[in-house]
Amino acid sequence: MAEVELDPVIHAQARLRVVATLASLGAHDRIAFPRLQKLLDMTAGNLSTHLRRLEEADYVLITKTHEGRTPATYVELTLAGRLAFQTYTQSLRALLGGAS
């Protein structure tokens, strides 16, 4: 059996959903935290926890800005995150292809 490792940062239910969603946006696109939360149907606390883990791995970039007077948080996939997701999906396909 070929040893194909799945990135443990991405290979977890919730974080896979987060990364897959961010990867579906255009390169260099940012998404507002509440909109991302809606696309994922996650609670704010839950999403923050997973984003922190992804941020530690340098897979996402979190930007805090102000829109008028309201603070706004934007999330985007970094180049490293995009590459890691690509590698992850390739490995996944390789593993599934090998299994069949």
């Binding site: 977890a12 239910q13 896979l16 959903r17 897959a20 579906s24 696109d29 998404i31 991302l36 996944l92």
Partner: protein
């Protein structure tokens, strides 16, 4: 117990096949952040069909469109414009960065191009062009603007359907100019409006297939 509670399995590694399904599902979900092309083609197709249709129906006898028909055409255009702007803003809310910037610049190209169109038409009028020439030129240039901007949008969003529709609209306006007044209105209504409605149908069917 509420659904707000973090799911205990949220951190668990998914089954391999499940992982692929999760990716596909979220990709589909993220489509919510993009405008629906078929809806916009349909709205504009209907507006052209109704607007130009009304102009043709009242102009075919004496050559002059009635005030009511002009009102209908303007209303159809305004409704389609409001639907477009509302839809695009709603779908892209919360998205910033490269595509938001490209989208804003693309959106701005429309009023700029139509300002240029109205200035050209004004220039023709000043130079003494007849009402018929002004009408034909105004329609053909408007269709050319729509066509070329659709072509640009098709390139920007890699949407071949939009590109093809743009080419069709530009040629429709030109064909209407050759047809002459007032049947040019019929060409705009049927080939232009109808063409966009067919485009909306094709895009819808293909996205489901």
């Amino acid at each position: 117990m509420t659904t707000d509670e973090p799911r205990p399995d949220a951190d668990a590694a998914p089954d391999l096949a499940d992982a692929l399904a999760i990716i596909a599902a979220q990709r589909a979900r993220a489509d919510d952040t993009r405008p629906v092309g078929a809806l916009l083609f349909g709205v504009w197709g209907a507006a052209w069909l109704v607007g130009y249709g009304a102009l043709w129906l009242t102009a075919r006898d004496d050559g002059d469109a009635s005030l009511l028909a002009v009102g209908v055409a303007i209303t159809a255009g305004v409704v389609a414009l409001v639907v477009t702007i509302t839809h695009v803003l709603h779908r892209t809310r919360g998205i910033a960065g490269a595509s938001a910037r490209e989208g804003a610049l693309y959106g701005l190209a429309w009023p700029v191009a139509f300002l240029a169109q109205s200035m050209i038409v004004g220039g023709l009028s000043q130079a003494g062009a007849s009402g018929e020439v002004i009408s034909l030129a105004a329609n053909a240039i408007a269709a050319l603007v729509v066509g070329l901007l659709y072509i640009a949008g098709g390139l920007l969003w890699r949407a071949t359907s939009m590109y093809v529709l743009g080419a069709w609209m530009a040629l429709t306006g030109a064909a209407a100019a050759l047809t002459g007044f007032p049947d040019s209105y019929l060409v705009m209504a049927v080939a232009g409006g109808g063409g966009m409605l067919v485009g909306a149908l094709v895009v819808t069917v293909r996205s489901r297939g």
